[in-house]
Subunit: 378 residues, 2 copies
């Protein structure tokens, strides 16, 4: 709808847009539901009927059509194709091994730049939950128009509480960009703060959460990557040159394992902000990165008259004076009696029992299991 | 050892002794470990390496040798024979359908009486935990000698707390019986009391718990059964007459389904006590009827430096700040994080999560599942 009101040159910006979905990370805080072999993005964690990656793809469709690239691990090729049957092989970029976000997003930028140097890419992680999608899409449209003016544009999430689990974006002055009335300069990115500092950010009002979403000309992304991570840039460029040729396999096998592991924040976003090249669109939508089982509780409405949220097709749960979350990935009968704020995740080979309060510590259990050799269930 | 000191006529009493083990009841408060198809007595609930029925049989062996009869449901024939491979078919009495304790114990009494009217039977449920066994055996020896003088002799358990879950026995005057210095008359059996009343019993000192154990001449048992439940007595007598003949099957099928369901306490013990025919030997041993999962916690020592008791062969449990009981009947990894006094029972088709405090309510869950048609897991 908003699109209708933009000018011809705006439409040009929109036609240059290409969605990129980095689909990585095992989501260890969601073990045993989320696994190395079945990570977070392959699950329907909201009870919507769609997996997170499918919902992410669908959210980009009105903006990008079929111009959406997914970057994921070779292990997930089959599952991703099953979730996104319409994706072409050109748009499915498989990582030989995990190399962190700078390599994943940088590879997408380099391949897209090789195909068309005018592309404006928009990178959105595969495992986030956003609602309403129309508000998100309007923000991305503003971001595309801002990016077309030569910015790396992040979308800042309005904080709802003084979270210590996210990085923050400090907004600077407003930018005067046609069709992007909410665009502002980014003064700086700041690391995950202490709770006191986070409270200050909330009071201040110019801070938003960094959800890792950004929209930018691929050329500008690569320029900053080259300046900050020249080795990574050189490697990705060489891979991108070979990507759409018969040499892809040979070049990837030779170079990918040698690439440095670093986050896109350090490799591009923070230095670009320091150089004044980063802008921000505030996102007035609800956003959740489904970081732990407490988030799953928030995202799944409880059935009427009960404090117990049950997820899982065909779940057979009997409860009496119980509250919390049950994720049933089996057809077993689960009986809960007299237990409060519990988190139960029941899968065929592993069972987690904890509380909402301890949901963040699930990661430790996974680390322990890894150390003790119980890798069959990770 | 005690036996050596008894006289010839005492030995005669001992040679008349026949152990009877009623093995019934599904132990619904121990669901989903205990099931209709795999009741409490078929499990090793103490971590001893023996199932409860095996331990019960072994406890009677020094007293009865191979003169031990088991009364159980046809459903459990195979499992009982597996647990007690030495049992002869003559000593395995199968109930066509459950008919409560008066029919089960009465049938054993009637069959034994038919085979030898001088038998003194000792009935001990298959699902109790007793230690030390020598103290139990000494009490039974006193009970046998007292029974030989024409008493139905119960063994009273010294109460350790004002339980509202057991019936009580009020002891009367001491009896003067050779070789049974602790024998006393029983003034009355009293029903499960309120907590206040139970506290009074403890202070009074003449009350003990009724563990349902008794030793009695089969003729005396049958006499009281005939007086109080003539229909039941007549039916059991007809079945017993046919039992060791080719007519057993036909007679059982015709009569068993028509028998009234009642407890041995009402059919024999209470009226016999009123008639002055019941005596009591105090049992100075530790006794547990493993009534719920809290009992399983008591009976299984925790591993060093942990408040978490884990039962189950090959259990794979990871815990962090967790206490309570885990019963693992699968090979699944179970991770517990930050949860106190929890009770987790993990079986292939059903999972129970509750707390020690709510352990008694498990029965309700089973009733609910039955009502809702989830009988596949009961």
């Amino acid at each position: 709808m908003t699109t209708e009101m933009h000018s011809t040159s705006d439409r040009d910006a929109f036609s240059r847009f290409y969605g990129v979905i980095p689909a990585g990370g095992t989501g260890t805080r969601l073990w045993p539901l989320s696994r190395a072999a079945a990570p977070k993005f392959l699950h329907d964690l909201t009870g919507s009927g769609s997996t997170l990656i499918r919902a992410t793809y669908d959210r980009l469709c009105p903006l990008a059509g079929d111009r959406v690239m997914v970057v994921t691990g070779t292990l997930h090729r089959r599952a991703v194709k099953q979730q996104l049957p319409e994706i072409s092989n050109d748009n499915l970029v498989l990582e030989l091994e995990p190399k962190d976000s700078a390599a994943a997003i940088g590879l997408a930028a380099a391949i897209l730049h090789r195909r068309d140097p005018d592309i404006i890419m928009g990178s959105f992680a595969a495992d986030q939950v956003i609602t309403p999608v129309e508000v998100f899409q309007d923000a991305v449209r503003e971001a595309i128009l801002t990016a077309a003016r030569g910015y790396i544009v992040t979308i800042g999430i309005q904080p709802t509480h003084p979270s210590t689990g996210f990085g923050y974006i400090r907004a600077g002055e407003g930018l005067d960009i046609d069709g992007a009335p909410n665009a502002r300069a980014v003064a700086e990115f700041v690391e995950k703060p202490s709770e006191d500092v986070a409270r200050g950010y909330l009071r201040d009002g110019s801070f938003s959460w960094n959800a890792g979403m950004f929209v930018a000309p691929v050329s500008l992304m690569l320029k900053h990557l080259e300046a900050n991570e020249p080795e990574l840039h050189a490697g990705l460029t060489e891979i991108a040159e070979a990507w759409d040729t018969a040499r892809r396999r040979e070049v990837v096998r030779r170079i990918w394992p040698t690439l440095p592991k670093t986050a896109i924040d350090y490799a591009v976003a923070e230095p670009a902000a320091a150089a004044g090249d980063v802008a921000m669109i505030p996102g007035a939508f609800t956003w959740d990165d489904v970081g732990d089982f407490a988030a799953i509780g928030r995202l799944n409405p409880a059935a009427e008259n009960t404090e117990l949220r049950v997820m899982g097709e065909g779940a057979r749960v009997y409860s009496e004076n119980a509250s919390g979350i049950v994720v049933s990935d089996t057809k077993r009968v689960i009986a809960l009696i007299g237990i409060e704020d519990v988190v139960i995740v029941d899968t065929p080979d592993a069972l987690l029992v904890t509380t909402k309060e301890h949901a963040q510590e699930v990661k430790k259990a996974v680390e322990h299991l890894k150390a003790s050799g119980d890798t069959d269930v990770l």
